[in-house]
Structure formats: structure tokens, C-alpha cells
Amino acid sequence: MYCRRLELVDFRNFAALELDLPAGPLLVLGRNAQGKSNLLEALLALASGRGRSHRTLAELIRTVDGAPRPFARIRAEVAASDRATRLELVFALNPTEDGGPGRRASRRVVVDGKPRRASELLGQLNAVHFSPDDIDLLGGAPAERRRFLDVAISQVDRNYVRDLVDYGRVLSQRNALLRELRERDDDAAGLEFWDGKLVELGGRIVATRQQFVGALNDSGAAAYEELAGAGESLRVEYRLVGAGEDGGLPLDLLANMRTREIQRGQTMVGPHRDDLEMLVDGQPAAAFASRGQQRLVVLSLRLAEMEWLGGVAGESPVLLLDDIFSELDSEHREAVIARMPKGAQVLVTAADDAQVPETFRSDAAVLRVRAGHADREG
């Protein structure tokens, strides 16, 4: 599938943009801070419903002299093998009590002219986004890695999305009850119901994530070996916080944790606390791998994500590669280009034309981005 038309209003640094995009490779050129990454982020937002990690929804809205515009809008036409879909995604600032613009934003989604729940955006356009910040997947907080899992799986698994939403609801109810039990200095009255739901939903979420991690191990390890050279191996492990080897989220574990959970007023086990660990030659990549190896690890994970999404959805996702060439030597650049699926829409940004290998350049259309404007070349 690919995005054949993109229209932006007040999204990041784009006041207004209308673009026809090619089905194949597109090279996005421009100096730094002109909007190349923002263009990719618009497509990421269509795929995931939000921007890059750490970005709040309100930060997607363009500001003029420090004052935010009322909303940002992305419109797109997506062409898949069997259908064409018109998407509209609006991020609007929530009004405050007195009717003025607030600091938080909410989403509105329209699919083929009909208002839809935000979750129904997922799966309309599948995309994999790679940026130099992805190195945080290794050294950053566990939340980064859970987000990586959730963004990937949510694009192709509606049930997973629903389970995540339900799980969040159960989690906040259970945490509220734990805090209340702490205040009242009570035993575990009323927890059984929420425990049961937590285990049921949490178990399904963990099982789905583990399947995805299995796929990462198959194709990610292969990609890494190819990029890093024979003899080096990548392994990804899903870490269940506090759980035994057998996986899942057994009720007795919650029972064992109960006193501590009530003391802290917080649910301490479950998929909202789980983590991923990336191992290079059996050693944690975050601590032991070189900077260069770490780059290849995250790149391998993204390539594996791409293959998995393509396999599950039956057609290749859009590949959004932000500033990928500047960090790689020429050999690795060629290896990445060789792994790009033929005929897939691939957007690659670069500040320096000279870093773009001829093998990519020769097939690619070129888009120049300058101060919030974009023009096709040739």
C-alpha cells in the first residue's frame, strides 16, 4: 500500500502543503530544519495516530510567533491493492473552561468522509519509521520499547488495540482501588474482579507481543547478520517483569505482590511494565555494543518490523527512513537499499546529496523541501 496524495494544514512547520507522492522510492532533500522529518512524521501519524516518541499531540500543531494555530490537519489518499481510502486526521487543541485554546490536543478521524473512532485509523496506512533517535530503543526507558511493540502490532491487529485500551481502563480502576485499600488499611476486598481482568487482558497482550518478538528474532537476526557481517548475532528477548519463566501473568503472582502493591498504590506487574532486551552475541546491546553496532541493531529491528507488517497485511508497508545514510558507511548503505522491498513506497530524507548512493538515487523521484514548502524535481 502507499500514500498517493498528502495534504497538510498547520502540521508542524507546514502552513499548507499539497503533494502527489510516487508509488516507489522518493528522495526527500533539503537542508536541516526545513521540514523533511516533519513530512515523514505526517505519514507516521496517519499510520500510528500520533507523532514520534516523546511528542505530545499538541506539539504536532504549527505555531506562529509562539502561538499555536487552532488545529493541524492531515488529509491523504491511500492506495492498497484492493481499495483506495481517503483519510483525514485532525489534531485540535481542547478548549479551556472559558472557551480559549488549551494546552492539550485531541484527535478527530474521518475515513472516506465518515467520522470514525481514532482507533479505526490504524491499519489504513501501514508504515515503518526509522530515525537516528531510534538508538533510544536500546538505551532509553522501557516505555520506548513497549511503544515500539505497540505501534507495530496495532497497525495490523484490531483486537490488540482493543485489548490495550481495555487494559488501560482496568489498570486505572485497579490502581485507584489499591490506593483506596492503602488509605483504609484494608485487606484485598474487591480486587479479585480487577485481578481477573488484568490477567485475562494482560495475558493476551503478552502472548501477541511474544509472537511479534518471535518474528523479530527470525528476520531481525538475519538482517543483523547480513549488515554486521557473519559471526555476529542479534537476539531479542521479551522480559516479563516479576514473572516466572513460563510466561503469562498468573494470579498467584498478583497474590504474592498484593501487600507491596497496596503499599505503593500501584499495579507492579503486567504488560505495562514489561520490557524488551536486545542482545548482541549474548550481551545486552545497550551496555556492550559499540555505537555502530547499536545503529545496526535498531535498523535490523526496523527491517524486521517492515517484513512482519508486510507478511501480516499481505502488502508492504510504507518505509519512512529519516536521515538514514548519514550514519552508515557506504557498504551498509548498499546493504539497506538491497533489503528495501521492490515496488514499495520508500521515503528517504537526506541533507547531503552526496551521501545518497546511486543505487537508490537512480530509481527515486526527488522532492526538495525548503522552509515548509516542497517541490517535486524533474
Partner: protein
């Protein structure tokens, strides 16, 4: 007093703004709408508001609101006196009555268990329900709480409290909406509908 608005209008805006789902903008719009409405229409609304608390009481048996206590649903001997339908609030009673599919007694729980909102079992009319089941010779309790986690938690608590009383406990079936097209129904609903399938 709201800036630039004559006293009575400002007061009305303030009062309307206290209602649920009504923000300051809607409150102003409603106030000015009323200002431009025929006087008799406004008087009729005012009379309805003034009469609201007069002659309306809460039924001491089922906690529904009615013009007398006990309420008509609790005294009507034509109704099935051995069945109680437990509901979250009085509006649910109207919805079930409109369906015409039920003809027993009711019991308004006045909410559902929700730790986030500070509502626990003790804040609901659960003890009163248990007492009624024992005192009134009830043979079936139809639990008609909402199909939410909070409604499920409440249903589970009712089951726990009535365990051992021998009363038959039932829950409303979940599944397909009338007129619904299977193709567009979400998987969770289909799964529940399959679970609740029956012979025909």
C-alpha cells in the same frame, strides 16, 4: 455576576452552567434562547422546574423516583412479585420498561463499582437488595448492569453477596444489535454473541 450581562441573565447562565454536559458557551446560548422565547414557554419551564422536587419521592424499597412511596412498580400486584431486576440507575428502568420484555420488580443500585470515582460496594444499594431477596421470597435476580468493566464488577459482587441464598441469578445477554449487519460488528461482540448462542 458575569461581566457585561444584566444580572438576571448572568444568574441564569450561572445556574445552567452547573448542569452536567453544559459548558459556559452552551449555558449562554440556552439563556439567550429562553430570553427570546415566548413568555408562556419560559413560564412553563419555570413551573416544571419548581414542581420537580414537590411530590417526587424516592421509593424506599427499590430507590426509583416516583410520586409516592412505595412506587407503582413495587405495589403493582399484576407484576411478577418473585423476580427483581437490578439496574444501575433509574433511567435504566425506563429503558427496560419501554422494551416491554420484563414484568417484575426493580432495584436501583444507584451506580456501579468504580474505584476511580471512589464508588465501592458500600456506596451502592447492595445490602438492601440482599435484604429484599430474603424478605420478599425472590426466586430470580436479573442483573441488568451495563456491559462495562464497572457493570461486570458490580454483577460479580451481587453474585458473591447472594451466593448460598438459592436465588437464581441471571444476566442480560450480550451480542448483536437488532438490525445489525454481522460484517460490521466488532469481534468482541461476536465472540460474546457466540458464547450466549441458544437452540432454536
Amino acid at each position: 455576576m458575569i461581566d457585561g450581562v444584566p444580572g438576571p441573565i448572568g444568574r441564569l447562565i450561572e445556574e445552567l452552567g452547573k448542569l452536567p454536559t453544559i459548558g459556559p458557551k452552551t449555558a449562554s446560548r440556552l439563556a439567550f434562547f429562553l430570553l427570546k422565547s415566548p413568555p408562556e414557554q419560559v413560564a412553563s419551564l419555570a413551573a416544571a422546574l419548581a414542581a420537580l422536587n414537590q411530590g417526587i419521592v424516592q421509593c424506599s424499597k427499590c430507590f426509583n423516583y416516583a410520586d409516592r412511596d412505595p412506587c407503582p412498580y413495587c405495589t403493582d400486584e399484576e407484576r411478577d412479585v418473585h423476580t427483581i431486576c437490578a439496574i444501575e440507575d433509574a433511567l435504566d428502568l425506563l429503558a427496560i420498561e419501554r422494551s416491554g420484555g420484563y414484568n417484575g420488580r426493580y432495584h436501583v443500585l444507584e451506580g456501579a463499582i468504580s474505584p476511580l470515582e471512589g464508588i465501592g460496594p458500600d456506596d451502592l444499594r447492595l445490602n438492601e437488595l440482599v435484604a429484599r431477596v430474603k424478605d420478599e421470597g425472590i426466586t430470580e435476580v436479573v442483573v441488568a448492569t451495563n456491559a462495562t468493566f464497572e457493570g461486570d464488577a458490580t454483577a460479580l459482587e451481587i453474585g458473591r453477596l447472594l451466593d448460598g441464598t438459592g436465588v437464581r441469578l441471571t444476566r442480560l445477554a450480550r451480542g448483536l444489535a437488532t438490525g445489525g449487519d454481522l460484517e460490521y460488528v466488532d469481534p468482541a461482540t461476536i465472540a460474546q454473541a457466540l458464547e450466549g448462542r441458544r437452540e432454536f
